[in-house]
């Protein structure tokens, strides 16, 4: 029982960070029907940026979120303008899948030239501290990472529900044509949202690097999880992504302690396939229209 509770605590803490990464992915899909396969590579890129800031300028990784996130927002806007925007037409969304895949390979290639392929981890002085709560060991950085993710997710949802920009975004998600008729500048909304999606990856990457060792190839594993999360949650659904991320964290942690760590990510993939048998549109998704 103790072990199970410990696993659930861990799973929720881990799930929170994945929720932050997945939020950007699902937001971008909701608005422009583009799956950004490079989201994982962008998380790793941000992890390296935060690592570099920490090891050269001694900037605390949690503080570096404030630097990395705006920088990656700009990068995201640039990526949208250069690579994604030109993909129009009936095959646009399918092509975007491959274009962002190529982008992911490019990022991986550049990172392995600059940083080599050995594993890095950002280790601030408090990285090894942990709290004992009712006999459960809880790592400080994990709690901090979870809190940071939760705060950012809350900020994102406030941005989407309480601001003019957010209303424009939601209108575009629900009905792009009507939104344009109502005076929403669709191009601007798409570009800014793509940047926003990438900044979510950036913030998550900065905290990811504190918790896990990473190398340029780590993005394959990340993106496979992230894509499964957004599909399980329902493409385009923010709440679905958060729920699915937490579910993944908990399922994987329980399988790791109860069965074997080698089957943990496998079990999540199987849950996904089984679930799609019942509900092809994911938990909170609406059935994808044929474009």
């Amino acid at each position: 029982m103790h072990e199970l509770v410990q696993a659930i605590i861990l799973g929720i803490l881990v799930g929170g960070i994945y929720a932050l990464m997945a939020s950007g992915l699902t937001l971008v899909f909701g608005i422009m029907k583009v799956i950004n396969v490079a989201q994982g590579a962008l998380v790793i890129l941000a992890a390296y940026l935060s690592y570099a800031l920490f090891s050269h300028l001694h900037i605390d990784p949690f503080l570096s979120i404030l630097i990395v996130t705006p920088a990656m927002f700009v990068l995201g806007v640039a990526v949208q303008l250069v690579f994604v925007r030109s993909l129009r037409g009936p095959d646009g969304s399918e092509l975007s899948l491959l274009v962002t895949w190529a982008l992911a390979l490019g990022i991986e290639g550049v990172l392995s030239v600059i940083f080599k392929t050995n594993f890095r981890v950002t280790s601030p002085s408090y990285a090894d501290n942990s709290w004992s709560i009712f006999g459960y060991q809880v790592s400080e950085v994990r709690v901090l990472a979870f809190v940071a993710s939760a705060v950012l997710l809350l900020a994102l949802s406030l941005l989407l529900t309480r601001t003019r920009f957010g209303r424009a975004v939601r209108a575009t998600v629900q009905n792009p044509t009507a939104a344009t008729l109502l005076g929403v500048d669709a191009n601007r909304v798409q570009t800014l949202s793509f940047g926003l999606g990438v900044s979510m990856a950036a913030a998550a990457g900065a905290v990811y690097g504190v918790i896990y060792p990473f190398n340029p190839g780590s993005h394959y594993d990340l993106i496979s999880r992230l894509l499964s999360i957004v599909v399980l949650g329902g493409l385009g659904s923010l709440g679905g992504a958060v729920f699915a991320a937490l579910a993944m964290g908990v399922i994987e942690a329980i399988v790791a302690v109860k069965i074997s760590p080698v089957w943990s990510s496998f079990s999540f993939f199987v849950v996904l396939i089984t679930f799609l048998l019942v509900r092809p549109q994911g938990i909170f998704g609406v059935r994808e229209r044929v474009l």
Binding site: F83, L95, L97, E288
Partner: protein, 336 residues
């Protein structure tokens, strides 16, 4: 037989004859080796195109079936002893068919989802198969890797049987595509690609049509994986279920022209020798992956329709121009 049919058969026959003659004309081992790799990618790209090019559903899971083919052959060697020499080649169509049949239930679930979700679910298959290869160690030897017996072919022409096997699979794939394109199934797939809802409304059995194309894609991919494993004699999970191999095949399909008959083969004929040449010339730089991504990006953004369709429209435009050029002259003559 119509003229188009005759021309098609002649083209296919010429390609097959040239393909068969190649390893006997250029019989140096290293050239035949490049030939094996080129045909491997051509066959994979043709298989990918058969499903994704014709239905419009992008699958990112092809590497899973390549890997299943490789492992099934390896495991069969390990546990049942299917002989050596040429025998494994004859077993391959059956191995591929078995894998393809086994994949149908999964395909049926995946095909309940629409385009983007489908692409992601098939990508998930890739990771599932890779993890099975890691975890079912009593069958696959896990991460240690599985050794296949080395066949005792004559050293001077050691690569030729593998070359011919890959060529046979490619020709099978091309023939299937050719037949599909001029059959009712081809029309059904085309209708799905254009507008699936409408096709369904018209009473077309869309799921059945998609499943047939899927089955053929898996059958071909698994056979290619089997030949590759036998050729290399050593397989392990990351190399057998390698997203880069599949993305290579996709890139070649896009370069040559997806949805066309010869496009994937053209793409492979251009890219594989080019890649080998680059590795020989720029071997020591670490920029391989960056270069790969750049080529991919250029193809997708600047040549999204591929070489063959672009060439065709260029030629059509040229002819159009020539005709409009000629027409005024005709009118002038009439005036005169």
């Amino acid at each position: 037989m119509s003229r188009a049919t005759a021309a098609g058969l002649a083209r296919g026959g010429a390609f097959a004859a040239a393909g068969i003659a190649f390893p006997f004309v250029f019989n140096q081992a290293w050239i035949v080796n490049i030939g094996v790799l080129t045909l491997m990618y051509a066959a994979l790209a043709t298989a990918w195109n058969l499903f994704s090019g014709y239905t419009g559903y992008i699958t990112l899971g092809q590497a899973a079936f390549f890997g299943l083919g490789a492992y099934t052959l390896g495991i069969t060697f390990q546990h049942f002893g299917i002989g050596s020499g040429y025998n494994p080649f004859y077993a391959l169509p059956l191995v591929g068919a078995g894998i393809a049949i086994a994949s149908l239930p999964i395909a049926w679930i995946a095909l309940r989802t629409r385009h983007m979700t489908f692409a992601i679910v098939t990508l998930t298959l890739l990771f599932i198969v890779q993890q099975l290869a890691f975890n079912l160690r009593s069958l696959t030897k896990g991460s240690t890797g599985l050794m296949l017996p080395t066949p005792h072919f004559a050293i001077d022409s050691y690569d030729t049987p593998f070359y011919l096997a890959m060529l046979a699979i490619l020709l099978a794939g091309l023939s299937l595509c050719w037949l599909i394109l001029r059959s009712k199934l081809g029309l059904m797939l085309l209708a799905i690609r254009e507008d699936e809802e409408k096709a369904r409304g018209l009473g077309i059995r869309v799921t059945g049509a998609k499943l047939i194309a899927w089955w053929l894609m898996v059958w071909l991919s698994a056979m290619v994986g089997g030949v590759w494993a036998y050729y290399l004699t050593f397989i392990y999970p990351e190399s057998s279920v390698d997203p880069l191999v599949m993305i290579g095949a996709v890139l070649m399909t896009f370069l040559g022209g997806r949805g066309t008959l010869w496009g994937p083969t053209v793409g492979a004929l251009v890219l594989v020798p080019a890649q080998q040449y680059m590795i020989t010339k720029l071997g020591a730089s670490r920029l391989y992956l960056v270069g790969y991504a750049a080529v991919f990006m250029v193809v997708l953004l600047l040549l999204p329709r591929g070489i063959l369709p672009s060439l065709r429209s260029a030629i059509d435009a040229q002819r159009e121009r020539r005709r409009t050029h000629r027409e005024p002259r005709v009118r002038e003559e009439a005036h005169a």
